[in-house]
Structures are given as C-alpha cells and as structure tokens.
C-alpha cells in the first residue's frame, strides 16, 4: 500500500458536522452461538476507521446490524448526525440507506439485467424520477447523472461501461461506485479490496481518503489486508468472538500483545 501519511484530521477529534454511530448493548446470536455482543461502541469519530479481527469475529454481522439487514436480539443503534439522532433499529434497510448510512458488499452482488452505466444510473435516480408514469426521457436528469458517472469512469476503467460487468473485479468495483453515487455520509466497506486488482485498490483507497477530507464522509472498513488498514485508517477497532477487544490508533493496535496473539500471529509481532 501507499505509505503516504493519510491522516490530516487531528486524530481523536470528530470531523466537522460529525456523524457517529452509537451502539448500546447490541447483541445477536444465531442458535446458541453469540455472534455480536457489544456493550458500548462509538463508530465514526474519525474520518476513516478500520474494523479488524479473525474470521467469524462478527465484523460483517456488525455492519449488517447497523444497516438493519439483520435485526439485533436486543440493544440500540443510534445514528447521530447534524440533522439529529435516529434509532436505526426502528428503520428499514432502504430508509437507512436514504439517511446516508450505506454498506458495500463483501460477497459480489450485481443486477444481472443492468449494464454498468444503467446500474450507476439506478443509484443516482431518486424517488422523484422513479414514478411508473415517468417514461419520457428526462434530459436534465440524464445530463446531470452522466456528469457524475463520468467523474468516476474517468478514474476507474471498465472494459465496456455500456455492457455488463464482466469480471469479479469489475462487479466489486461497481458495487463500491454504486454506493458512492448515493453520496453516503457514513460508508461501511466490507472487504472492499477482496477481488480487486492492486492498482484499482490503490485508486479506491486514494479516492476514499480524498472524500473523507473534502466532504463530511465517514468510513468504516473491514479488511484483512492489514497494510491497507495501517496505512489508511486513523483509528482501528479490533474485534474477536463478537466483542470489541481493543481500540486505538493503528500503531497502538499493532503493537498490542492480545491482537498479536489472537490475530496477527507470531510473524507480525
């Protein structure tokens, strides 16, 4: 990964127009197995935060609880934004996405019938465009949408933007771009670089850094590529067996003995 210093925001200080997710006593189990068990957790106090931990630690489930794709057994998840505080557990996944809390997918998800461009247009269209009686060409919308889409297509190359996403990498990238076009305020990225070529990974992370600095976007990243975590995140949460065991700056977490033992293995210590 790039070794460039990324954190321009003073660490620990919330960004302007801060948005945070506050989890209180959030608990989820499948059968007899506890997957997520969190007493109290604040996410998003820094521009880019990392969520790391061994497989099965409950990281993805934690994100799904936030977007309410999975309902918690108990507990509250509050979303604090300049617009006020919302209890996410009382809203549907689509309503949460419209509030600006958006998650990219770890496992590849795509719309088979839509081309790359159509897929991106889908992201951009809002309730105002999506009426069954609106079938005439909306030039103003198309022009505006094309402009926004081209901004991304200038950075990322697809083999044929007017065809379907071909490779796994293209689908993964498309998934991320769809989320970005929603103009999220809190982006949850579940292993964004799995399946992406290194070159594209670098471009994605570079874009994420720019976005968090230039806009009021907050990002939480799940990633097994630890070099990326250390190089990109300002703050890292370490999760194992459903619980957050440790939080801190990348260097703190990196040097911690528990993390080394439970996750990194001897070679990293």
């Amino acid at each position: 990964m790039t070794g460039a210093s990324s954190a321009t925001r003073p660490p620990g200080s919330p960004a302007a127009g801060a948005k945070t997710l506050h989890l209180h006593d959030v608990h989820k189990h499948y059968g007899g197995r506890t997957v997520v068990d969190i007493d109290d957790l604040v996410l998003g106090a820094h521009g880019i935060e990392g969520l790391i931990g061994p497989n099965g630690a409950g990281k993805t489930t934690l994100m799904k609880l936030i977007t309410h794709v999975v309902s918690p057994d108990r507990g509250r998840i509050e979303y604090h934004s300049p617009d006020g505080t919302v209890l996410l557990t009382q809203h549907s996944p689509d309503a949460i996405a419209r509030m600006g809390v958006v998650k990219t997918n770890q496992v590849i998800q795509d719309f088979e019938s839509l081309t790359i461009r159509e897929s991106l247009l889908l992201s951009l269209a809002g309730a105002e465009q999506e009426k069954f009686y609106k079938v005439l060409r909306d030039k103003a919308f198309l022009r505006r949408a094309d402009q926004e889409i081209d901004e991304y297509l200038d950075i990322f190359t697809f083999q044929d933007p007017d065809g379907r996403a071909g490779s796994a990498g293209e689908k993964k990238l498309l998934d991320i771009l769809r989320c970005l076009l929603l103009k999220p305020r809190f982006l949850l990225m579940d292993e964004p670089t799995a399946g992406l070529p290194q070159e594209e990974t670098d471009k994605v992370m570079e874009l994420m850094r720019t976005k968090t600095q230039e806009t009021d976007l907050s990002i939480l990243i799940i990633e097994h590529d630890l070099d990326l975590i250390w190089g990109t995140c300002e703050f890292v949460h370490f999760m194992a067996e459903g619980e957050i065991l440790l939080q801190g700056t990348p260097s703190d977490v990196r040097s911690n003995a528990t993390v080394a033992e439970k996750y990194l293995g001897a070679s990293h210590a």
């Binding site: 977007t67 794709v69 549907s92 996944p93 689509d94 309503a95 996405a97 419209r98 958006v102 998650k103 997918n105 998800q109 795509d110 719309f111 088979e112 019938s113 839509l114 081309t115 461009r117 159509e118 247009l121 889908l122 992201s123 269209a125 309730a127 465009q129 999506e130 009426k131 069954f132 609106k134 079938v135 005439l136 060409r137 909306d138 919308f141 198309l142 022009r143 094309d146 081209d150 297509l153 933007p161 007017d162 065809g163 379907r164 769809r178 989320c179 929603l182």
Partner: protein, 309 residues
C-alpha cells in the same frame, strides 16, 4: 372479413394482458398466476354495472378499473413480501375465488345462465363498422401498452423494476423502497388488467363464468413465456403463435374433419402445455431471447468511446 373481427378482438385482448404480465413478471418478477382473476373482476364489474344498473359504459369501465386496482392493492399488501412460489399460489387462489363467486352469486351475476348483453362502448350505426372500429381501439390500446413497455426500459422506473427482479436485497440497500414500488406497480398493472377485462366484456357481450377459468391465465402465460418474458414484443409473438394459429388460422381456414373438431380445444391446451415444457427445457428466455442491450444513447457515451479507442 367480418368473421375475422371477433377473433382478432380476442387476440388483441390476450396481447394486452400479455404485455401487462410482461411488466409484472418479466420486469419485476411478480409471478401473477391470477391474470384471469383481475381481468374477470373488471369484466363482470363492467357487465353488472352496464346491464343491471344501466350505468354508462365509460363510467362502468372506470369503476371496474378502480375496483380491480383496489382489490389488487389489498391482495398485494398481503402477498408481495412473500416468496415467488407463494405469490403464484395466492394469485391463482384469488382467481379461483373470483370464478366461484361469479358462479355462485347468481343474484348479481346471473351465474351459469349468463349475463348480457353488454353493448359495445360506442355505436356508429352500422354493426360491422362499429365492430371494426372497436377492434382498432383495442389495437391502439395494445400499441400504447407496448410503447409504454418499450419506453420503460430506458426510464429510471424501468431500471428500478429490473433491480427488484434481479436482486431485491441489493436494491433495498441502495435506498429503494422495493415493497412499496412493487405494491404500486402491481396495483396499477392489475387495474389495467381489470380495464382490459372490462373491454373484453364488450367483446364477448354475453358473460358466463366459463370465461373466467384458469385457461385464460395459462394462455397468457404460455404466450408470454414462448415469445420471451423479458422482451417487449414477447407477448405479441407468443400470442400470434398460439392463439393466432389456433383460434384464427385453424378455426377459420383449416378444414378440420368433424370428428376431430370437437377435440380441438383439448388438443390445443395439450399442445400449449407441451410447448411450455419444451420452451422451459430448451429456451427458457423464450423465442426472442434475452433483452437486447443497445448502448445507452447518452450524450457522452459516444465521445467516451472515441477517447478509449
């Protein structure tokens, strides 16, 4: 010529229902196996209002459309969140309920005795001219539905419907209230089926419960699946190849020996069933195949292609 007008009216009705089913099933993934329930509700509502209560045809048609829409809304509220198999069974059950209600509530529907005569929506004096004009009106409605379906492919709403069919969870994660959209679209398209049924009342003129058996649903389904469920003209091609061949070509122009003529309707349904099996086995996307993917004609798409070249 006159002998052709009535079957062509029936064929156009099937095309209209087929395009509406294409919108529900081919676009949105709603497995509506109760087509005849909605069209039948519209048909009998129109007939009852016009014949028993002497309501003007246009008003009766309007009421029938609204009533079908309302019923579809209530049904959709209950079932559209379910798995597609459950939607299939529920809509089929709904159309069966409509059939038996029409049969048993003879104080209102005249039951098996039949309800009639439903007049044509308009009369220009001469019967055959009126019939021909009515056919043209039906064709115009079918054309309008086709234009709508074609336009929808390139409209935001069309992309939304495709996204619901392909991956509803992903669509929701992009902020789309998919259930509400399905409910609205189901209501609107079922109401349109009711309107088509209302016009069909005028085509048949004399209404009997037999018109509401599941056969009609199957015919529409087979036509759509044979032609291509995801293609705008799938229903047209499929209807021509099924209803067109049997109800028009064979019925009017082929000299079937008398002893076989009685069996023809049964043979027809058997062949339709066989066709359905063959299509699903060998060409599940129908004769027209997948949706063609013409490059989006956006103002900048061309220029970008040149840059990349």
């Amino acid at each position: 010529m006159n002998a052709l007008v009535f079957p062509l009216q029936g064929l156009t009705i099937i095309v209209c229902l087929g395009v509406l089913l294409h919108l529900q099933f081919g676009r949105t993934g709603i497995v509506n196996f109760g087509v005849v329930g909605f069209s039948g509700l519209g048909m009998y509502t129109t007939g009852i209002l016009v014949v028993n209560y002497e309501v003007p045809f246009a008003l009766a048609l309007l009421i029938a459309t609204a009533l079908t829409g309302l019923v579809a809304f209530l049904l959709g509220l209950l079932i559209l969140n379910l798995e597609s198999e459950a939607v299939l069974v529920a809509t089929l059950a709904f159309s069966t309920i409509v059939f038996y209600l029409v049969t048993s509530e003879s104080w209102l529907t005249e039951g098996v005795v039949g309800l009639g005569t439903v007049p044509r929506p308009f009369d220009v004096g001469d019967t055959s001219t009126s019939q021909l004009l009515f056919l043209l009106v039906l064709v115009a409605i079918a054309a309008a539905l086709l234009v709508y379906a074609a336009r929808l492919q390139h409209a935001p709403y069309g992309r939304l419907l495709f996204s619901i069919q392909d991956n509803e969870t992903l669509s929701r994660s992009l902020g789309k209230p998919t259930f509400r959209h399905k409910l609205v679209f189901f209501t609107v398209t079922c109401a349109a089926m009711g309107a088509i049924g209302g016009l069909d009342a005028s085509v048949n003129q004399f209404l009997v419960p037999r018109l509401l058996t599941a056969d009609l649903t199957f015919v529409v389904w087979i036509a759509l699946v044979l032609g291509g469920r995801k293609r705008v003209f799938g229903a047209v091609l499929g209807t021509l190849l099924t209803v067109g061949i049997f109800d028009i070509v064979i019925e009017l122009y082929v000299d079937v020996p008398r002893e076989f003529a009685q069996q023809l309707p049964n043979v027809q349904l058997m062949l339709f069933g066989l066709t359905l099996i063959l299509v699903i086995l060998f060409r599940p996307q129908g004769l027209l195949g997948e949706r063609r993917r013409k490059p989006q004609d956006s103002p900048t798409a061309e220029s970008r292609k040149k840059v990349q070249a």
